[in-house]
């Protein structure tokens, strides 16, 4: 019987910094000290605090070691496991008080979190189905298929109020009911694991940390909608998630929790994987289905919805990974329990990928209705380097920027929409005073132009034109008419594009126009970029008092715009300056002023 367990993060982030070697070294060291009977090393999924990885958590005292290296393994064993002394230097340090925090439960990052979809991530070994079963795994499936009719199960899901986590927030129970309604010789359950939002990685983490929960939920869905086949559409760039899914599917098959006559019932369900090449548009469900069928990843007009005619023209229920991860718990704990969490119209929790100019970067799961302030300043630990908060972008390329005035809005599907953004898949990028909002809008539009499938004109041509206008503005060549053009384009694209990609693509532009109109005007009228991100709008001058006349700038200037005598202050000829910034980077005396 083990008295202690060392949970080592085996998520993509921590594995990239040698967590597999840490496992090896810990095992060697335990063996060398004759402790293999006392302590066990377990590789788990992601803890969410990837920025401070690799993470090693010692159980039962919940000691949370951060940034562990393979060389630290021996010390952890000899000090902590053998002698009960914590290795202080590896503990998390509160960025403000500099105090070491040992128990993860006391870390600001975890205090406001509530883990439902991520309940097993960082807790069990994802490659061992037994650990999942020990956590009530597959009990929900067993109960549903032996004790409930599909209609009863769907009713429970409807009561729970669960809404899709893939972006649009469509009620999951209702989608299952629609799919059930259509009769066909074959129906399908599809798990959308395309995860196209460049800032999001919750679906990957769930599949890496707890693949069985998705498998179980898909089987429950199959029973409810009347499907015997399931497909996980996953991007090929997620090799670890694919590997863990494959292991889990194999183990579930061996136990008879997938396959023919599950648990002695009439219900059979098979699961397979289909790889995507990682296009944003393939996350849109009709594009995804086209790609699954071997066609180009181009969306189709809806209706018919996939629930009526989807994969191979058969009724297909498409749900997101995180949506599925909520399903088994809802059946175990009951819809009433789920109903108590969240806001009136958005129940449960949401996982966010917190990134940008924030102290604690990572994956967090919080109850719906939490405020942005709590997320950014409590869980996220505030803005990096004591800078000033400017905006937070939610919803990825389909979402928008929220500002100071939204900080205290309880967030859920509807409040984010009302504020001009959206939940999307849960990307959350925090920006500070050094970020230029015009450039941010441009960045997302570049992504959209790159990822548009080109099938419909508004999205293919319209977004390109919008991008050109933004580029013009950033170069200081824009005029006030351009701001109106931007809006007009945005409305037309929003209203006429074929699929969700185009319909939502103007959001980053519209929300920055709404919330940061003055910044656009400054770019256009005063030719100024307050955040100093738009190089073309900056003026470079030399501060004569600081200049030593070392000539480095003059020698490096590509247009010979800088003149001056050796040991005398130099001078920049603004007519020749192309604002490349080389002088600024080369000057050793901070004598170049950027305005």
């Amino acid at each position: 019987m083990y008295k202690m367990q060392l949970l080592v993060c085996g998520g993509t982030g921590c594995q990239a910094s040698a967590s597999a070697t840490i496992v090896e070294k810990l095992n060697e060291s335990l063996k060398a000290h004759g402790l293999t009977e006392d302590a066990q090393v377990v590789t788990t999924g992601c803890f969410g605090f990837c920025e401070k990885g690799p993470i090693v958590k010692v159980i039962p005292d919940n000691t949370f070691y951060t940034q562990v290296t393979p060389e630290d393994a021996e010390e952890i064993v000899t000090e902590h496991i053998l002698k009960g002394r914590k290795v202080n230097r590896l503990l998390y340090e509160n960025p403000e008080t500099k105090e070491h925090i040992s128990d993860s439960k006391h870390m600001g990052f975890y205090q406001k979190q509530m883990r439902i979809a991520l309940r097993n991530c960082g807790f069990i070994d994802p490659e061992n189905i037994d650990e999942y079963i020990a956590r009530d795994g597959y009990s929900a499936l067993a109960q549903v298929i032996t004790e409930l009719t599909p209609e009863q199960a769907i009713d429970m899901l409807k009561q729970s109020g669960l809404r899709g986590r893939g972006g649009a927030g469509f009620p999951t129970g209702l989608k299952w009911e629609f799919t059930r309604k259509y009769t066909a010789d074959q129906k399908y359950v599809v798990c959308n694991a395309d995860e196209g939002d460049p800032g999001a990685f919750m679906d990957r983490s769930i599949l890496e940390g707890d693949p069985n929960t998705v498998i179980e939920a898909m089987a429950i869905c199959g029973y409810c909608v009347g499907a015997t086949k399931g497909v996980v559409y996953i991007r090929a760039e997620y090799p670890l998630a694919i590997k863990r899914l494959e292991i889990a599917i194999e183990q579930a098959n061996e136990y008879g929790l997938l396959g023919k006559n599950i648990l002695g019932t009439d219900f059979s369900f098979d699961l397979e994987l289909r790889y995507g090449a990682g296009a944003f548009v393939c996350g849109e469900e009709t594009g995804l289905i086209a790609s699954m069928e071997g066609g180009r990843g181009e969306p189709n007009f809806k209706p018919p919805f996939p629930a009526e005619s989807g994969y191979n023209k058969k009724p297909t229920c498409v749900n997101n990974v995180e949506t599925f991860a909520n399903v088994p718990v809802i059946f175990l704990k009951g819809p009433e329990w789920f109903n108590t969490i969240g806001t009136e119209k958005s129940k449960g929790t949401k996982v966010f990928a917190l990134a940008g100019k924030i102290n604690n970067v990572g994956l967090i799961e919080v109850p719906m209705g939490i405020t942005l302030r709590e997320i950014i300043f409590e869980i996220g630990g505030g803005i990096k380097d004591g800078k000033k908060f400017k905006a937070v972008q939610t919803g990825g390329p389909s979402g928008g920027c929220l500002t100071e005035k939204h900080l205290d809005t309880p967030i859920d599907f509807d409040s984010l929409l009302a504020a001009g953004s959206m939940m999307g898949s849960g990307g959350m990028i925090v920006m500070d005073e050094d970020d230029c909002m015009v450039s941010i809008a441009k960045f997302y539009l570049e992504f959209i132009v790159e990822e548009s499938c080109g099938k419909c004109t508004p999205c293919r041509v319209g977004n390109k034109r919008m991008l050109e206008i933004l580029e013009k503005i950033c170069q200081g060549k824009g005029d006030m008419d351009d701001l109106d053009h931007l809006r007009n384009f945005a409305y037309v694209i929003r209203d006429t594009a074929l699929c969700g990609l185009g319909q939502t693509s103007p959001n980053p532009v519209l929300s920055t126009l709404d919330n940061f109109y003055d910044e656009y005007v400054a770019h256009v009228k005063d030719k100024k970029c307050e955040a100093k991100q738009c190089k073309a709008l900056a003026t470079y001058t030399i501060i004569p008092e600081a200049c030593t006349g070392c000539t480095v700038c003059a020698r490096n200037c590509p247009t010979d715009a800088i003149t001056g005598e050796r040991r005398q202050p130099h001078f920049i000829n603004q007519d020749l300056c192309i604002r490349c910034g080389v002088c600024y980077t080369k000057c050793k005396f901070n004598a170049i002023l950027v305005q």
Binding site: G84, I133, G256, L263
Partner: protein
């Protein structure tokens, strides 16, 4: 792996497998549990702390006591080792001295289960991290 053929079999399987996850489950909500700490520095180990810890872990498992056993460094009572600190939810921590296997069992049966105090309690005048 043999197939699981019914809901009952799944339940049985779960019961068998639960034990390995038990300490993880418990550490997930430590506030509600009795916290037992065994001093396991050189002095403690030399006087048999490891055997005491094993006995505590075993008994807690068998008697299904809602408690976690962890180890700490030297508590500063080297003369009185092995020492064991017990913190029941809502109570101040109590430190027992000269604990052997028999006393360990008594601590559980008397103090933890019935709140009876035993001999050999040390004044708690130290801090741990």
């Amino acid at each position: 792996m043999t197939k699981i053929k019914s809901l009952d079999e799944l339940r049985k399987k779960k019961q068998q497998l639960e034990q390995n996850l038990e300490i993880r489950e418990k550490s997930d909500h430590p506030e509600s549990l009795v916290q037992i700490k065994v001093a396991m520095a050189t002095c403690g180990i030399a006087s048999g702390a490891r055997t005491v810890m094993n006995a505590l872990v075993e008994k807690i498992r068998n008697d299904k006591i809602p408690a976690v056993v962890t180890q700490t460094g030297c508590m500063g009572y080297c003369y009185a080792e092995p020492t064991v600190e017990v913190k029941k939810p809502g109570h101040d921590p109590v430190v027992f001295s000269y604990v052997d296997v028999k006393k360990a069992e008594e601590i559980i049966d008397k103090y933890i289960k019935n709140n009876e105090l035993l001999d050999g309690i040390l004044p708690a005048n130290y801090q741990t991290i």
